[in-house]
Each structure stands twice: as structure tokens, then as C-alpha cells.
């Protein structure tokens, strides 16, 4: 059965095609009229292939290839649009010199680089899959036999980093995670998502689950925080609670579940405000550097062309 996520006509494809159509405005109008529809169609085909290959990640990969291509080729098309058969270097010089002033050129380049950087970071942020997290908390304690195994054991209930580390490894062990995988039938459920419909092996499923667990001690307490990440809020909560319960059973009810996980209301990743802010900051810096550099080169070329074009000074009488 085909999974809903595999359908190529997803919103992400439509959004990508729409954005690409707008980005074609970077090309000269004549070129756009001649090749714009064909390029758009080709991009849609590439989007469909990228989606089939890696879904959202495939699309992100495609955008990361297409953006530099678009930036480079649009500049080249503008340059080749200039009349005359000058060498490429002369053409660039001509473009830069012909601009009215270095200040205007700086503003134009700054705006173009800034918009491209912010646009790309925003686009990638919105294409990244959303991840939710849920946390359950368990109170652990050493029993007397465990405490007596050590030569200088800490008192029962006191903070013991070795004990905590051991319990973390127990929680992440195949004994606990294998049972969670069996109880929730994750091999089949995740097989539909990640295995093209075929059930995954137990080892593969445990590896995926292990990568989603974040275990932390709650400072100055004997509490362990079991945090799980998932694309679905309800699944994250279900997994966190299942791990806590399985661990409790394994330790013969010695640990106490103090907090059950609840589905998160908002995704924790990607951090959209942070990503967009970083895009704005990075875009500003890059735009300043590129704009400043271009304006500097333009000013230098202008000075040089003025010097070359200046008539020879009359001989002093």
C-alpha cells in the first residue's frame, strides 16, 4: 500500500514550484520568456524525483543544489545579455562601471544577497520536518544489595553518578527497548514510515528508537528524565511512557513513575524564530561583505576608466 507521505503531489512540492516560479524573476525577461516555463516544468520533475528519493530531505537537498545554480546562472545570463562581443572580464567591468554609483550598486547587491539568504533559510526552515518531544520522569533508588556491592557505597537514596549512568545504559539496552518495540509493534509501524512498507528488523527499530532517546538526571534528585523525539506528538508521549513502564517492570517496581509524558503542543524542532533570525543575521553580514566588495570593485574600475579616458594634459607653457 502506498503511504500518504509518498504521494508526490504534496503541499511541499506545490510550495517549492511556486517559490521557484517567483525566483525565475532573477533572470533577464527575454530569457525568462523563452525558457521560464520549460525550467519550471523541469524543476517540478526534479521535485517529484527528489520527493520520491528522500521526501522532505530530498527536497531540501534539491533546493541546496538549485539555489547556487539559480544565483550563478541568473548573473551569467544578465552578463551575456549585454551587447557586444567583449571578453567576460570586460563585460563584468562594463556592468559594474555602467551602474550609476557605487552606493546604488551596493544597495542593489545588498538587497539581492539579503533576500536570497533570508528566503533560503526561511524556505529550508519551513521544509524541515517538525519534531515533537515528550518527557516522562522516573524516581529511581538503589536497593540494599546493589549499594553493598561497592566497597564504600553511598547511602541508599544518595546521589551516585555510577548508579545513574548504569541505569541510563539499562534503559537504553535491548532488554528494555526490545520489549517496547514488541509491545508497540514498532517494527511494522515504522516499516510503513521508513521501510517503504516492509517491516523493519528488531535491530533496525531499536537503533531508530535509541537515536530518539535523551536521558538526563534531574539535578540534586534521584529523578531520571526520559525524553523522546518523534514527528508525531502522540507517538513521542506513547514511547516515553512505554519506556518508563518497561523499565519499572524490569526493576521489579522499584522505580516510581512520577510524571507521565503528555503529547507536546508545539514542535521543538525546527526552532523557526531562531532559524529565521540566524538567516537574517547571516544574510546581513554576507550582504554587507558582498555588497561592499562589489561597490569597492566598481569604484576602482570607475577610477581606472576615468584615468584611461582622460585627455592628455596640455604641455605647460
Amino acid at each position: 500500500m502506498k503511504h500518504a507521505h509518498d504521494e508526490p503531489n504534496s503541499k511541499a512540492l506545490a510550495l517549492s514550484a511556486q517559490i521557484y516560479r517567483h525566483l525565475l524573476a532573477c533572470y533577464p525577461s527575454e530569457y525568462r520568456r523563452a525558457y521560464g516555463p520549460a525550467m519550471e516544468q523541469l524543476f517540478r520533475d526534479q521535485c517529484r524525483d527528489a520527493w520520491r528519493g528522500g521526501r522532505r530531505w530530498g527536497l531540501i537537498g534539491l533546493w541546496l543544489r538549485v539555489m547556487p545554480d539559480l544565483m550563478k546562472t541568473s548573473v551569467l545570463e544578465h552578463i551575456s545579455n549585454l551587447k557586444g562581443r567583449k571578453a567576460m572580464k570586460d563585460r563584468i567591468s562594463a556592468v559594474l562601471v555602467r551602474q550609476s554609483s557605487p552606493r546604488r550598486l551596493f544597495m542593489a547587491v545588498f538587497a539581492a544577497v539579503f533576500v536570497l539568504m533570508v528566503g533560503t533559510s526561511t524556505l529550508i526552515t519551513f521544509l524541515l520536518p517538525e519534531t515533537y518531544s515528550s518527557t516522562s520522569r522516573v524516581k529511581i533508588q538503589q536497593d540494599a544489595t546493589e549499594a553493598n556491592r561497592l566497597s564504600n557505597p553511598p547511602a541508599v537514596g544518595a546521589y551516585d553518578p555510577y548508579f545513574l549512568q548504569t541505569e541510563f545504559e539499562v534503559i537504553k539496552s535491548e532488554v528494555i527497548l526490545g520489549k517496547v518495540v514488541d509491545d508497540l509493534n514498532l517494527t511494522r509501524a515504522w516499516g510503513k514510515k521508513y521501510g517503504a512498507g516492509k517491516p523493519l528488523t528488531a535491530a533496525e527499530t531499536i537503533a531508530i528508537l535509541k537515536a530518539r532517546i535523551d536521558l538526563r538526571p534531574v539535578r540534586n534528585t534521584m529523578l531520571i528524565q526520559i525524553r523522546i523525539f518523534s514527528e508525531e506528538a502522540s507517538e513521542a508521549a506513547k514511547l516515553a511512557n512505554a519506556i518508563a513502564r518497561t523499565y519499572q517492570e524490569h526493576r521489579k517496581n522499584l522505580p516510581e513513575i512520577v510524571d507521565l509524558a503528555r503529547p507536546g503542543l508545539r514542535p521543538v524542532r525546527p526552532n523557526k524564530p531562531l532559524n529565521i533570525t540566524m538567516g537574517i543575521m547571516g544574510g546581513s553580514v554576507l550582504a554587507l561583505v558582498v555588497g561592499g566588495g562589489t561597490a569597492g570593485i566598481a569604484a576602482w574600475l570607475r577610477r581606472r576608466s576615468n584615468t584611461t579616458a582622460a585627455p592628455p594634459l596640455p604641455a605647460s607653457s
Partner: protein, 129 residues
């Protein structure tokens, strides 16, 4: 149109994008997406052209009269009739042959210097197979 061998040689070497687009059109006329797929296949995925590079190359090849747009349209049932098909012209064919000969000469030198012995061995050595 380049008439003499010298005129033809002046057009060489071709950029990888131009060479691969021309190579893709040697067998058959193709539309943009099919050209891109053929290039990916023939280079084992090492050259992946974006729409900008592909259509920029096509534009330059049309201007140089190395390729031309095909008037024939495929059966609309089999393909999207809005797609534009391109085919190699006589000039394009001569240029791509000349470039292939240039590569062959280079390969001959490389073989003489025993950097590679056989094409298969070469691809294995370079990890390209």
C-alpha cells in the same frame, strides 16, 4: 558554420555541461528533463545539472546552431505535448565528434604513459565503476 578543421578546433574544448548535453542528443532527440536524466545516467550521477545550467547551455547551443528545436511532437498520450524537444544539428555532430576525438587523443597519451591500461581497469582504479 565552422567549415575548416581549424575553425572547428577553435570551438574546443567544450565545457563538461555542453559536452554532456551534446552527447545526450547523439542517440535521439530529447526534452530538457530527458537530457538531464541521460546526463545523470551517463556520468553515474556525478554531473547533476540544475534547470539554470541546463537551459543556459541549451540557449548557447541553440545560438551556436549546434542543436535545434524539433518540430515533431511526440504522441500526447505518451508525453506532455508542451515539452520542447531538441536534436543535434550537423554542426553539433561535428563538434561533439571533434571533442570526443580530443578526449580519445588524451586517453591514448595516458595509456602510452601507462597511467591506465584498459578503460575498465581505469574506472576500477579510480573508483568510478
Amino acid at each position: 558554420m565552422p567549415k575548416t578543421r581549424t575553425e572547428l578546433e577553435e570551438m574546443l574544448p567544450l565545457t563538461p555541461a555542453v559536452f554532456h548535453v551534446l552527447l545526450a542528443l547523439v542517440d535521439d532527440e530529447r526534452h530538457g528533463y530527458a537530457i538531464m536524466q541521460e546526463v545523470i545516467e551517463s556520468t553515474k550521477g556525478r554531473i547533476k545539472m540544475g534547470p539554470g545550467t541546463l537551459y543556459g547551455t541549451i540557449k548557447r547551443l541553440l545560438e551556436a546552431r549546434m542543436i535545434e528545436e524539433s518540430d515533431e511532437r511526440p504522441d500526447p498520450v505518451l508525453d506532455d505535448e508542451r515539452r520542447r524537444y531538441y536534436r543535434l544539428t550537423a554542426i553539433g555532430e561535428r563538434v561533439v565528434k571533434a571533442e570526443a576525438m580530443r578526449y580519445a587523443t588524451v586517453v591514448e597519451v595516458v595509456r602510452r604513459k601507462r597511467l591506465i591500461r584498459r578503460p575498465v581497469a581505469a574506472t576500477r582504479t579510480m573508483g568510478l565503476a
